[in-house]
Symmetry: C2
Amino acid sequence: MTQPSDKALVPFVSVDHMMQLIHRIGMDDMLRGLADYIEADFRRWELFDKTPRVASHSDVGVIELMPTSDGEAYGFKYVNGHPKNTAEGLQTVTAFGLLADVASGYPVLLTEMTILTAMRTAATSAMVARHLAPKGADTMAMIGNGAQSEFQTLAMKAICGLKSVRLYDTDPAATAKCAANLAGHGLTVVPCATPEEAIEGAQILTTCTADKQYATILTDNMVGAGVHINAIGGDCPGKTELAPAILHRSDIFVEFPPQTRIEGEIQQLAPDHPVTELWQVISGTAPGRTSDRQITLFDSVGFAIEDFSALRYVRDALKTHPLYHPLDLLADPDDPRDLFGMVQRAAP
Amino acid sequence: MTQPSDKALVPFVSVDHMMQLIHRIGMDDMLRGLADYIEADFRRWELFDKTPRVASHSDVGVIELMPTSDGEAYGFKYVNGHPKNTAEGLQTVTAFGLLADVASGYPVLLTEMTILTAMRTAATSAMVARHLAPKGADTMAMIGNGAQSEFQTLAMKAICGLKSVRLYDTDPAATAKCAANLAGHGLTVVPCATPEEAIEGAQILTTCTADKQYATILTDNMVGAGVHINAIGGDCPGKTELAPAILHRSDIFVEFPPQTRIEGEIQQLAPDHPVTELWQVISGTAPGRTSDRQITLFDSVGFAIEDFSALRYVRDALKTHPLYHPLDLLADPDDPRDLFGMVQRAAP
């Protein structure tokens, strides 16, 4: 046995640690904290090293690496997408992520990101809605009541002051699950039998369904003037949720155009259809909502910088809440040139 | 506390485990095993998903992700390169890697790869030398006696039958360290005072120096007919070891031309200078060494498929030697749609 030095030990946040961290900080406070970190990184968007995700496709799914860097820290997320997994009792999406120090190249954090991705996706949606939703919006239609639905709803409550959520899913069991999970969180929760019922009186329309096909969750006649659409589920080639006519009536806001044009709702539109980059709205260099009757649409696909913000948040949160194991990940010989000697001296 | 299921637990091989694994299997046998796995993957080279590494550069170093897939398994390595780290008591290169199941997207192995990369680099060099070095080659000049030198030497012994190694480094302390580490391994070890002395009688010339600059470790008049040059150290833009005249006299063999033309010795040559892909030699579709007087040159830069082979080797070795910790990396709710409920039920 050799004793690794501090530099060789990387803090690892397990799934169990992440759940403890959420309860220690509080779900609402953590969603708000994540939104603040994400917003701060959107404000300094231009300085990031940006690249579309690096995807490895197969017949049944995709495995992706999503790296980015702000010049001081480097982060990446590993994430898979396998829609058929659910039928086998597995998660469609699992993820983990890593943060490293650019100056030394040494990793400084390894963490589960299945739960953290759900949190950052919801925090991003709510941060964007804070900028784009009509003033006083307090009712949301939540269409698609799967794994992301409760996080979306609670983020809208914590960050935008949501008071009421109207739930709809093609599977009533999913709606029942979502309603049960949201009970006791200070929201009016209204299960609905149809999508038309769900959107009654809602100023925010969130779509988050999982089918990998060109689906039409919202049709044109369902969407009235003045709403904000938060479209989460269209996030890969061939997977969309909105009728093209809605897109043509909306002002469309995106994270990173080269990625969204391939993966988002706007894959249904011409490649030069005008869109606004969210970082420009958030940093004040492009208009967001300009009228009460305007339809704003956040075509969310999820971008590496949001994961980077989430990794930064967790790294900082561990200073107050040390919920991690030190992981013996990096070989650290006393003499950097003597890796072989280190191995040799470990002989039993 | 919730209890993660087996599917959520990823075997993790720490640095300490990797060192134990080497001793359990034996250094020579493990190098031979790695060479066999790497050679097997070179034989089926065409079916791999190949991409140049995804690099994030800064003023002081680089962080890279190296993914690949054979359609059944997906692997990637995280690796940094920070030459100035040594002065701060840190490793120039640290690495870890992951293997995942393409069918589900679930990771199946996370492992340290600083030591494993040294092993696979050496195993690759020796596997290539087995194909290209002159018959009966039993003496190697090892120029550059840093972290990789002992692994290179022992791999050439285990895989090519090397009997004698002649060591040279600009720093005599590095040579002394290498010679001490190699004592007792059944080799004749000859420390040399000059590179000219080191190459006397050597049929294999291995260069493995670390300076990030256009250095000239071997000059043209040092290299006689019939040798095999194993050039390890030239592995990034601006870092080469050989005089261009040597390259022009050699038949050059490379792993993956799009990467080697940027990173290898051949960055000094015209972009259309002829090279042979090693997988073609190994699968019998291109000639290797064709005459006793030919100079063969392996312009090694290290490619993702070699890491993939090493990850496969470790995954299989763990079946016999279960040296790992199960890591709680993947959230695995009973109901895949109820991630939020899983978090909620973890409340203290």
